[in-house]
Amino acid sequence: MKISTSVFALLAFASFAQADVLKINGSTTVNLPAAEGAEILRAEKKMDITVDTQGGSSGGISALGDGQVQIGMSSKPVSDDDRAKYPKVKFNPIHIGEDAVAMIVSKDVWDGGLQALTKQQTQDLYEGKVKNWKEVGGPDERVVFFNKEPGRGTWEVFAHWAYGDPKKAPQVSLPEVGGNEETRNKVGSTRGAISQLSSSWADGKKVFALGVKTESGEVLQPTPDNIATHKYPMSRPLFLITNGEPQGEAKTFLDFMLSPQGQELVKKHGYLALDQLKTGSP
């Protein structure tokens, strides 16, 4: 009995003891440079930082709103709905880089001649109105659309481009993929497959990034130039979001990510750093 009382006392005390840790959560896209930045700061400045990717971009925003983390990672802007859900939170998104979302296809589709899609075609594919690739200029192959799971910034960027607003996107029931590797893996190993993916992940060997065909027939590839100048429509900002102005350890982390060293990490993982956005050059 004595043992159990002291255990309970210890637990009660421990649950009040504050852990002084910098907690970061959110998008798996932003996670790449952020987690590596955390590793460097942990090694150099002995900072205590935990990075998690529960729930993707939406999870990051919710966690920040609920006060569970100090920094939320997101690859989509904070929406009005988010602000309405957490009226007391002053979402402060800090831009650290830029990325793009591309529609990726498997090798057989690419080799079969389909290398770009219009917005309308993309909508038809998403809604299942187009069931065979030959209807849009590709090979005679069934369309297999793997949809990014809800909550992913990648999906929201796609929906924003294709339908103007994620809320306007029609309800569909498609097979889902979660992380980047799963998407690349499944699209790469399935004939006639298409999905949404961060353009830096399209390696040109297993999966191929389609260009966007505009009304005028111009094909916009997700090149660094097109992304930086926002000519390519599905570019997305990479955000580290804090509640109000960043302070203390959060400020140290953010300063690091905005520094040349941190920006190098952004570039290293295939995204565009802030300076590239201003000049539009790689």
């Binding site: 421990a14 996670n31 987690a35 590596e36 998690d52 990717t53 980047n180 590797e181």
Partner: protein
């Protein structure tokens, strides 16, 4: 005809056995073949760098060990209490079988259900956030039936003369328990615990919402907001979201280490388990 069927039937059954064993060997072979290239002393003693592409899995291993140790410490006293209640204190058969039914039921509950329960109660209601202790508690509940049943079987198998002799010497029941029954049935507790821990070490679903993150944790400090890294969650995330082709061998290496840990725990329990098996069946 009889002779033919007398040959065919055992042959068919033998084929089934062969198939079962072949699956096991094939599984181990594939993981060993792909995981061995990643194995080195540094793999086990270093921590993750470059989000899984570099470094080792030290803190993942440590995290898993912390989780199963916590599970052991929480489940052992409860298992002993349940076993004693069943084998010693409960007199009528109906009550015993109700307790047995309770354990049987508990054993069947899916691990994801425990994960959701922990998410509701510990992460949110108690406000602990992700905590190693939550993982330990949930895992303890999960392995409780295994540990308890092993202990009960051991107690039941105790030669009656031990207890008779002790009673004859005038010992009270609690003294009999503490100086005769428990020391003699230690093996059952060990066996059950090892088997339970082997299962707990490999579980992902109960801990992924409640206790573990992908990167950034080392050793926990306190109870609140103290997640740990873990091997199964690491593998789960890498399988969907590996950030670099270089991760490939590391993924298999992690799987190999996890498999080795689980096998080691199972194998140590084997002699006890087989001995118990023999005693119970004669």
């Amino acid at each position: 005809m009889r002779r033919v069927s007398n040959f065919l039937f055992p042959a068919l059954c033998g084929l089934c056995t062969l198939l079962a064993c072949a699956v096991f060997l094939g599984l181990v072979f594939v993981i060993a073949q792909r995981g061995l290239p990643a194995m080195s002393w540094t793999f086990i003693t270093e921590q993750i760098r470059q989000v899984g592409a570099e470094g080792g899995i030290f803190y993942n291993l440590v995290g898993t060990l912390i989780l199963i140790t916590a599970a052991l410490l929480v489940s052992a006293p409860i298992a002993v209490g349940l076993a004693l209640t069943h084998a010693v204190y409960l007199r009528n058969a109906a009550a015993k079988s109700r307790l047995g039914l309770f354990l049987y039921t508990l054993n069947g509950i899916p691990s994801i259900v425990f994960g959701i329960f922990g998410f509701i109660v510990f992460v949110n209601y108690f406000g602990w956030g992700k905590s190693w202790l939550t993982g330990g508690i949930l895992l303890a509940i999960m392995i409780l039936p295994t540990v308890t049943v092993a202990l009960i079987e051991r107690i039941k198998a105790l030669p009656a003369k031990y207890v008779e002799a002790a009673t004859g010497l005038g010992l009270r029941r609690s003294q009999i328990i503490c100086s005769v029954i428990l020391p003699q049935s230690w093996g059952g507790l060990i066996t059950g615990s090892l088997l339970g821990l082997a299962r707990a070490a490999g579980e992902t679903a109960p801990i992924m919402f409640t206790a573990t993150i992908f990167a950034g944790a080392t050793l926990p400090h306190g109870v609140r907001e103290s997640p740990v890294l873990s091997l199964p969650y690491h593998i789960f995330i890498l399988a969907q979201d590996s950030f670099d082709p270089a991760v490939g061998a590391k993924l298999w290496g992690s799987a190999l280490v996890l498999l080795a840990l689980v096998f080691a725990l199972s194998v140590v329990a084997l002699p006890f388990r087989l001995r118990m098996h023999v005693e119970a069946h004669g």
